[in-house]
């Protein structure tokens, strides 16, 4: 089954690290992603650009309002997402607890809603059916 893993980290703290350390952390993450890919557990993922470039959309007074910055007001921001294929939650936990990314910030593991996922796959045709 599919899980989406959301990797959070403290951008300021990470950027304050020496260049060499950041490079080696990135290399470790890429290497582990590859390991997951080879075993068929990595089904997609993207690293995110800095949170200061984010915009957040929300409905205000009947119109879409755009504000700068990420929605959540926390020190830790979303740094990347990884789509994981795993047997079950225990399997997902054990795969992700070996991910080097967990050393720089928390990972949130969310199971995919299978019903909605299927609707998405069918292009929303059944949403009105």
């Amino acid at each position: 089954m599919k899980f989406v893993c959301l990797g959070y980290f403290d951008e300021q703290q990470f950027n304050a690290l020496p260049e060499a350390e950041r490079q080696s952390m990135e290399q470790c993450c890429l290497a582990y992603d590859n390991e997951l890919r080879e075993t068929g557990h990595f089904i997609g993922g993207e690293p995110l650009g800095p949170a200061c470039n984010a915009v957040t959309l929300r409905m205000q007074n009947g119109a879409v309002a755009v504000t700068e910055g990420p929605f959540a007001e926390t020190k830790e921001v979303l740094g990347g997402i990884l789509m994981l294929e795993a047997r079950d939650l225990n399997h997902a936990i054990s795969l992700m607890s070996q991910h080097p990314g967990v050393r720089i910030g928390p990972f949130e593991i969310r199971s995919v809603d299978p019903e909605f996922a299927e609707k998405m796959e069918r292009g929303g045709k059944s949403a009105t059916a």
Binding site: M1, F3, R87, D88, L89, N90, H91, A92, I93, S94, S111, D113, P114, E115, E118
Partner: protein, 422 residues
């Protein structure tokens, strides 16, 4: 079968002893707690109908699981569940049908253990883990659990529903964790078992039957875990609970007031439970890798070995608390060690340590820290300060039996010091 009454009582007994195992196996096969519970009841209904004609099978649990399995297939076919899609449903049905299982005793027991690990999964809110375990693993009714935790039936029912939903939607599996994860996961299971026990044992509990039931359930759970995972800490926890249980009838007087360990009538301690507890402590110690439950049980053993409080080997207790502090450096462990040091070296030695704790800003809101301090001050003849400490403790204690104990102590030091408060 001779007579309806004997059949009925045999059925009651089978329900009590087998329903937990049968439910655990059905949950693993079906992967849905609600459908499994319905299937369990259907299976028992079928048994009541057919067994009088055909006699009770040799392995009733296996019969009930097989029957429950087919009942579940009917249930699943009948209801196209909202969250279950056609292909998923078909896959599930194929899986259940192909589960051509011999249902040997060992497999059935393993299913129970799987279910314990599922209900105590760290992804489930800790407040929900306990009621869920009591409901699904121990088979207590929602009413019983609600009355044990002094909440309403509807609140408890909501918690249990939330827990089941979480298992389903977060994809928490019905499985025993892998060797790598086992130690950490076993810790959380043992913590739940001990919390169940303490809920039944705590002073606020009063003497209602359901409370005793919680203690026996916790001990039963620990035995079940131990038979499958003979780990030293499981032995330690079982020993700790048996040793606590051995003092049950001595720890409250007829008025329901607390009797402190040193004042208890030791002839009322249950020697059989003590002997079994001691055996488990010794086995755990031999296996090595001793953890905090085993150390606490060992401390309990030292108390059990003494014919009176004065005869207690306080030096041994101080040393054991020292080891416990290395594993669990908490202020409460430090406080307990300070009390043991006071028993060994006199009140002043203990007071110095408790005062240091309080000055570090630790345990200031913990009523037992102030009552221990009051007790040591009283022994030193510093009655006015003792009264102040007991008053502080009284302001923090929530449980009625503990409050009554503190009020008694307060009156005692007030009359000793000649201080009379309006």
């Amino acid at each position: 079968m001779s007579g309806d009454a004997s059949f009925q009582s045999r059925m009651d007994q089978i329900y009590r002893s087998e329903s937990g195992k049968v439910l655990a196996s059905l949950i693993r096969l079906i992967g849905d707690m609600d459908v499994a519970e319905d299937a369990l009841h259907d299976a028992f209904t079928a048994a009541i109908k057919t067994w009088p004609q055909s006699s009770i099978p040799e392995n009733p649990a296996a019969w009930l699981i097989t029957t429950g399995k087919f009942k579940a297939i009917d249930v699943l076919r009948r209801r196209s569940r909202r969250h279950m899609l056609e292909p998923e449903l078909q896959r599930r049905l194929d899986e259940i049908e192909s589960a051509n299982h011999s249902f040997a005793e060992q497999d059935i027991q393993d299913d129970r253990l799987r279910l314990i690990f599922t209900c105590c999964h760290p992804a489930i809110d800790p407040d929900i883990q306990i009621p869920l375990t009591l409901r699904e693993v121990c088979g207590l009714t929602t009413e019983e659990i609600a009355s044990a935790f002094l909440t309403s039936r509807s609140t408890m029912a909501q918690r249990i529903v939330r827990g089941k939903k979480k298992i389903q939607e977060a994809r928490i599996p019905f499985s025993i964790p892998s060797t790598a994860e086992l130690p950490e996961r076993l810790d959380s299971v043992l913590a739940v078992v001990y919390l169940v026990f303490n809920e039944g044992y705590s002073a606020s509990a009063g003497q209602c039957a359901i409370r005793f039931e919680l203690c026996s359930e916790a001990i039963r759970l620990a035995r079940a875990i131990l038979s499958l995972l003979p780990e030293p800490e499981v032995m330690g926890l079982l020993a700790l609970m048996l040793l606590h249980e051995s003092r049950r009838s001595a720890r409250l007087d007829d008025a329901g007031d607390i009797v402190l360990l040193e004042d208890q009538d030791r002839s009322r301690w249950d020697q059989e439970l003590i002997a079994e507890g001691r055996q488990w402590v010794e086995r755990a110690m031999k296996l090595g890798g001793v953890g905090h439950y085993t150390l606490q049980a060992a401390i309990s053993c030292v108390h059990a070995d003494a014919s009176s409080a004065a005869q207690t080997d306080w030096n041994q207790i101080v040393l054991l608390y020292g080891l416990l502090f290395r594993l669990r450096p908490t202020p409460v462990v430090e406080l307990n060690q300070a009390v043991a040091i006071a028993m060994r070296d006199g009140p002043e030695a203990g007071l110095t340590r408790i005062d240091a704790l309080l000055q570090r800003g630790q345990l200031q809101d913990y009523h037992l820290a102030h009552s221990a301090r009051g007790e040591l001050l009283r022994r030193n003849g510093r009655f006015e300060q003792a009264a102040q400490a007991f008053e502080l403790a009284l302001g923090l204690a929530r449980q009625e039996p503990e409050r009554r104990l503190l009020q008694r102590k307060l009156r005692m030091v007030e009359s000793s010091s000649g201080v009379k408060r309006a």
